[in-house]
Amino acid sequence: MTLAITLAPGRLRPGDLARVASAGLRTRRLRAALSSLGIAIGVAAVVAVLGLSASSQAGLLAEIDRLGTNLLTVTNGQSFFGQTAELPTAAPGMISRIGPVTRVAATGATSASVYRSPLIPSVQTGGLSVDAASLELLAAVGTTVAEGRFLNAATQREAVCVLGAVAAQTLGIDRIVPGERVWLGNQWFYVAGILRSAVLTPEIDTEVLVGFPAAATYLGFDGHPSTVYVRTRTDEVTAVDGVLAATANPEAPNQVDVSQPSSALSARAEAQSALNGLFLGLGAVALLVGAVGVANIMVISVLERRSEIGLRRALGATRGHIRIQFLAEAVLLAGIGGVVGIAAGALATAVYATTKHWAVVVPPLAWGGGFAAALVIGAVSGLLPALRAARLSPTDALRTV
């Protein structure tokens, strides 16, 4: 039998392919960096948008968790004839007798307005309302005092008020100094404290709170609560919800609104901002531009490196070897852009989330998807140049121009 030989081209090992593919990038570093910039920006935008929305959601959910989902509010609804209904003055007391209820507080809207001084025109209320508040309010809604102190058994009978967070801002009071006062219901009220923002019950932020007895004494308040804040055992929220209306106003349960503030927040956490879509779109455009950039650079690279291609063919490279080399170079270029983009996007997310005191969350979909998109873009934009490089005949490639 005659000795038979087969001529089979050698396969490029992964290490060799990586070295061959990175050769072009190493020789022209600046060009490589600039051409992968588009992809980096696109991936960074996508990662940052997804990361920020995930982080803000995590932050909101953590806030909800901290504030608890066991807060229910009872408000006076509307009567059959469209007028504002009244809650009975005994409503808080009756609600507190429901078994699983752990805490009850009430506020009552007064007709008074509040101003920084008597010189302010009376129409400029700043959207602030004056409410009577019971002493357990802070514990019930889950907020605290930022400055000064809340009403107590003594000050709730006097001309003393506490400002909600927004109310304090509107009145231009950011710290409590002795003798600080506001013009409230045509007389001076001393300011005892400023509240932190009440996340679950934002209506309190725009209220100026006085004690129930003081409201009755100075503001002609009739004592009917307008909102009752109810904390229950967490596992009994639904049961309490069911009986609250009838308990608060047994004569007209249908004139009572009961709601769970945390459910509104949860809905907000689920909601996607319209801006997200806009930024994702911008990221996609940047990726597209980046893809064109990579394709452009690869086409130029193939033209410039004709003699290299010719030499490699002379050294025994097949068309496949040339094709995979340039394809791998494009993928590498885009991959570097992708990694840089992920780093930049994650950094932006981390910085912003930290300033907002959110947990830093970069979802796997964001960085994994961003990286995969970069690789696919590299492969697609490198395909045509790679095919052109492979199609070049060795003699044409070696011909000096």
Binding site: T2, L3, A4, I5, L7, A314, L315, T318, T395, L398
Partner: protein, 253 residues
């Protein structure tokens, strides 16, 4: 690609044949190469030649005589329009592009006028790249590259970048790259064309030394002075061989 046992893909290996009569390293029979441009260019018009193992041949001719085309055809970078080309007994017409690439990777070494060295890589890596497509492992490529560098007298430059070398040194690197796979045939296209006279002479002496160690080398040149030094001189004019002169290797006539 799976290699089917078709006659075109599997051929008897002359190197392994038991007979003493080995086929020529390269053999051209009535090769015609016409470029289908307007007007058609007849680069080769019926060239027949054979180069036996261990020969050192000069192909001499003015520019436009078809000698570069001849080198491309001998190096399987191009296929003839008509006529047969056999490399170490293998008929080029019956080999696929992939098989030709493998043939070049293992049996043919090229030296070019412009050197074609990779500037970002070291001298050693450049030489080792001569084996990149031959399916040789990295370590062995580097070991053999070091040997080849020693053979051309450039061991002390192994870690340098080609940009830090003189022209003559660069061409030595290119020669080492051509030799690293120990090919049966080395094709040199104007190897001294970019070098000054003294450096070119040194390169020529290197080729003669390598020839003395058994390499089969074909040098293409337009300089008669170079061709005159070599044991065999083939003259080309207008795509045809007009003279094929052999001298005794021992001395000049």
């Amino acid at each position: 690609m799976t290699v089917e046992p078709a006659p075109g893909l599997v051929q008897p290996d002359p190197a392994g044949a038991p007979t003493g009569a080995r086929p020529p390293v390269v053999e051209l029979v009535d090769v015609v190469k016409t470029y289908a441009s307007e007007p058609a260019v007849h680069a080769l018009r019926g060239v027949s030649l054979a180069v036996a193992e261990g020969e050192l041949v000069a192909i001499l001719g003015p520019s436009g005589s078809g000698k570069t085309t001849l080198l491309h055809v001998m190096g399987t970078l191009d296929r003839p329009s008509t006529g047969a080309v056999r490399i170490t007994g293998l008929d080029v017409a019956r080999l696929s592009d992939r098989e030709l690439a493998a043939l070049r990777a293992t049996r043919i070494g090229f030296v070019f006028q412009q050197f074609f060295l990779a500037e970002h890589a070291s001298v050693l890596e450049n030489v080792a790249d001569g084996l990149l497509y031959a399916g040789v492992a990295v370590r062995e490529r580097r070991d053999r590259a070091a040997e080849a560098l020693q053979a051309v007298g450039l061991s002390h430059r192994a870690g340098f970048r080609p940009t830090h070398l003189s022209g003559g040194e660069r061409q030595r690197v290119a020669i080492a790259r051509a030799l690293v796979g120990q090919p049966q045939l080395v094709l040199a296209d104007e190897p001294t064309g970019n070098l000054d006279r003294a450096t070119g002479l040194a390169i020529l002496e290197l080729l003669e030394t390598l020839h003395g160690e058994g390499a089969t080398i074909v040098v293409i040149t337009h300089e008669g002075a170079i061709a005159d030094r070599l044991p065999r001189q083939i003259e080309m004019v207008d795509g045809q061989i007009v003279a094929d002169i052999r001298r005794h290797a021992a001395g000049r006539r």
